[in-house]
């Protein structure tokens, strides 16, 4: 198993979809290859489910520093969470930006109805 084969099997490794011998091959490679060993350790730190669970706090920067670093590290090695985060950020941006082009005038009859209601009321100006 070389580094490329190791990385291509990583998902199946965590999903327990490899045979025992394939799994052993991966672990043997990681034990002799420093970059792949680090990658395996990072993947063990946090699952994608946990990454998504804490995403809100991650973006609001309200996670404890050590937790934030673990999220950063997971993001570095997980293209799926990178895509999820990008879509999540885009959703927020779209929601915020779509607001302003819908502003019209207050309809004149509604405007007048409020003025009339204020006039009828024994309002603040006379209290």
């Amino acid at each position: 198993v070389n580094c490329e084969a190791f990385m291509s099997r990583l998902w199946e490794y965590f999903e327990s979809k490899l045979s025992k011998s394939e799994r052993d091959d991966c672990e043997e490679h990681a034990s002799t290859c420093e970059p792949c060993s680090e990658l395996l350790a990072k993947c063990h730190e946090l699952t994608c489910r946990q990454f998504v669970e804490f995403l809100n706090d991650y973006l609001d920067d309200t996670l404890p520093a050590d937790r934030h670093i673990v999220m950063d590290r997971h993001l570095e090695v997980c293209p799926e969470c990178q895509r999820y985060l990008a879509g999540y950020r885009s959703t927020i941006a779209l929601t915020k930006s779509a607001r302003w082009d819908e502003l019209g005038e207050v309809p004149s009859e509604l405007f007048q109805a409020v003025i009339d209601a204020m006039s009828e009321d024994d309002g603040a100006g006379s209290r």
Binding site: V52, E80, C81, G87, T95, A98, V114
Partner: protein, 195 residues
């Protein structure tokens, strides 16, 4: 009282004139905020009118801690939330189908799709702007209201919690779930449009 520089936009010395100024300068924003909260256009107009009247009646309590327009905006929003509570939750459906699913080992069941276009580019398309608004409106009240207050009104979590009488943690969870659901709802339109 109202000519003392509490709000740079207000020049009228009388209360009614000040309220009219606010309605003229900020009425469209306030009405749009109410519409996003209440969703139904007729109910939104009623809520706007009742909310403005509530602000008028409460005007003696205005202490100038914020601009008059901001204060009126908050009073009207509060009134719209009361209306929502009175209206009750008639068809609160679960969002579970719109949230990402994971395997027992915590991996995505299906890989998240890639959004090819930037939000700025997407928003140039009218159908995208329309889709975003429709999707927000389709969210159940429980999730739509915190999302609108956070992402559209820009309120702090603590402020939303106070308004909705729930914990800050509950607000965070609802906003997060609403964003996740909205993402899933938008994807068919956006990914189709990108092809």
């Amino acid at each position: 009282m109202f000519s003392g520089g509490l709000d740079g936009r207000i020049t009228n010395p009388d209360a009614k004139g000040a309220m009219t100024d606010v309605m003229r300068s900020h009425g469209p924003q306030i009405l749009a905020a109410v519409q996003r909260l209440v969703a139904d256009p007729d109910q939104a107009r009623d809520a706007f009118q009742e909310g403005m009247l509530a602000a008028w009646k409460s005007l003696p309590g205005y202490q100038g801690r914020s601009t008059l327009s901001t204060w009126v905006h908050r009073v009207v929003i509060n009134h719209a939330l009361m209306l929502l509570r009175r209206r009750g939750r008639t068809h609160e459906q679960s969002l579970d189908d719109l949230l990402p699913s994971f395997t027992g080992y915590g991996h995505y069941l299906s890989s998240p799709p890639e959004w090819c276009e930037e939000p700025g580019t997407l928003l140039q398309r009218e159908e995208v702007r329309s889709e975003v608004r429709q999707c927000v409106e389709r969210l159940p009240d429980t999730y739509r209201v915190p999302l609108v207050l956070r992402d559209l009104e820009g309120m702090r979590m603590e402020e939303i919690a106070k308004l909705l009488e729930i914990t800050v943690n509950a607000v965070k969870i609802r906003v997060h779930r609403a964003r996740q659901a909205l993402k899933s709802m938008l994807e068919p339109c956006l990914l189709e449009g990108a092809k």
